[in-house]
C-alpha cells in the first residue's frame, strides 16, 4: 500500500495524488457501501421473486454487530499495547508540576501477547455470526423462501469479515512516518 501511495505521488505529483486519494476515500467509504447495499437489496428481491419493500435499510442495520466487532478487535490491540503508557505520562506531569523528581521511563512494556490476533479473530467471529443470525431471522420474517433473500447479505457480511481478518495482519505505521526505502 505504501509502495502504491509513493508510486502515485511520484507519477501525478503530491497535489493530484491528494485529490486522487480523496476520490478513492469517498468511493470506498460512501459510494461503494451504498452501491453494495442497494445491490444486495435488489438481488434479494429478484432472487426471492417477490417485491420486498425497503430491504436495504432494514437489512443493513443487521451488519451493525459485525461493525462493532471490528471496532472491538481494533481497540483491543490498542488496549493491550498501550495499557501501561499512562504511567510515564503521569510521572512526567508530576515532575513538571514539581510534585516528584522521578524521571519517567518511556520504555514501558507493551503487553501484546502472541495470541492477540486469535482473540481479535474470535471477536470478528462473534460479530459475523450475530449479524448472520439477525439477517436469517429477518429473511424468515419476510418470506418462507428465506435463503435467496438471505444469501446476498450473508455474502456481503462474509466479505466484510474477510476484510477484517486481512486488516488484523497488516502492519501499522507510526503516525506521519515512513516512506518506503
Amino acid at each position: 500500500m505504501r509502495d502504491l501511495e509513493e508510486a502515485v505521488r511520484r507519477s501525478v505529483g503530491p497535489q493530484a495524488a491528494g485529490f486522487l486519494w480523496f476520490a478513492v476515500f469517498v468511493f470506498s467509504v460512501v459510494v461503494l457501501p451504498l452501491a453494495l447495499v442497494r445491490a444486495c437489496g435488489w438481488i434479494s428481491s429478484v432472487a426471492s421473486g417477490q417485491k420486498l419493500p425497503n430491504l436495504a435499510s432494514g437489512f443493513s442495520v443487521a451488519l451493525a454487530p459485525l461493525g462493532f466487532a471490528m471496532w472491538v478487535a481494533h481497540i483491543s490491540f490498542h488496549l493491550f499495547s498501550g495499557v501501561l503508557t499512562p504511567w510515564p505520562i503521569l510521572l512526567r506531569i508530576a515532575r513538571d508540576l514539581g510534585l516528584g523528581t522521578a524521571a519517567p521511563d518511556w520504555n514501558v512494556p507493551a503487553p501484546v501477547f502472541e495470541g492477540l490476533p486469535g482473540l481479535q479473530i474470535l471477536f470478528l467471529n462473534a460479530g459475523l455470526l450475530f449479524s448472520l443470525w439477525i439477517l436469517w431471522r429477518k429473511s424468515l420474517a419476510l418470506t418462507r423462501r428465506a435463503m435467496p433473500v438471505f444469501l446476498p447479505w450473508a455474502l456481503l457480511a462474509a466479505a466484510l469479515y474477510a476484510a477484517g481478518i486481512w486488516l488484523i495482519f497488516l502492519p501499522i505505521d507510526i503516525p506521519g512516518a515512513i516512506n518506503p526505502p
Partner: protein
C-alpha cells in the same frame, strides 16, 4: 453547500493520515536536547525495525532538524535458534551497521528515522548517536524482540469456527423441522 464544498476541498488537499501505530521506547534529555524515540511494530518483532526520532531543544521544545543522528542495533542476548528472513530491501544492512536517521525517512519532516534489521528474536540494544554543534552523545535502549507474527495459516482453526457454527445451526434447524413433522 458552500461549506460542504470547502470541507471537501480542505480534505482533498490534506496529506493522507496513517493509522496509529508505534510506541515510545525512550526519552533522553542531554546537552540541552530532548530526544524521543519511537519504534514500530508493536510489539517489536524480528524483522525490519522502524526507528523514528523527535529531537527538541530544552526548554523551548522547538523541534531540531539539523542534528546528525545515526542508529544501530546489536544483539545482547544469546543467539536464537530461529533467525528470520528479512525483506530484500533490509537484508543488505548488517546488524551493528550504523545507519543515518534522516528526515527523508518520514513524511513528517520534524522527525528523523531509519530502518534497522532485527535478524532474530531475543534481547537487543538500540544505539543512537547524536551530534549537533558542540553537543554529541550516544544512548542505548534495551529492546525485547518477539518472534515474527504468526501467519494467517496459523489461525485457520479459529476462522473455521464460523462455518462450523453455521453448520451446527443448520443441523439443529433440520432436526427441529423433522421433529415437528414427526409430531404432526
Amino acid at each position: 453547500m458552500r461549506r460542504g464544498l470547502t470541507l471537501a476541498l480542505l480534505l482533498a488537499a490534506s496529506a493522507p493520515l496513517h493509522a496509529d501505530g508505534g510506541i515510545t521506547v525512550g526519552q533522553i534529555e542531554r546537552d540541552g536536547l530532548r530526544v524521543t524515540v519511537f519504534v514500530a511494530p508493536v510489539p517489536v518483532r524480528a524483522g525490519p525495525l522502524d526507528v523514528t526520532l523527535l529531537v527538541q531543544e530544552i526548554p523551548s521544545n522547538q523541534p531540531v532538524t539539523d542534528a546528525n543522528i545515526s542508529c544501530s542495533v546489536q544483539k545482547v542476548g544469546p543467539p536464537s535458534p530461529s533467525p528470520v528472513r528479512l525483506p530484500a530491501w533490509c537484508s543488505s544492512i548488517a546488524p551493528g551497521a550504523r545507519i543515518p536517521a534522516t528526515p527523508a525517512h518520514s513524511r513528517n519532516k520534524l522527525l528523523s528515522g531509519a530502518y534497522l534489521p532485527l535478524t532474530e528474536p531475543g534481547r537487543w540494544e538500540l544505539n543512537i548517536q547524536l551530534t549537533r554543534g558542540p553537543a554529541s552523545f550516544s544512548v542505548s535502549l534495551p529492546l525485547d524482540v518477539a518472534a515474527p507474527q504468526q501467519p494467517l495459516s496459523t489461525w485457520w482453526p479459529l476462522i473455521a469456527l464460523v462455518p462450523a457454527a453455521i453448520l451446527l445451526y443448520a443441523w439443529r434447524t433440520i432436526l427441529l423441522r423433522a421433529r415437528r413433522k414427526h409430531a404432526q
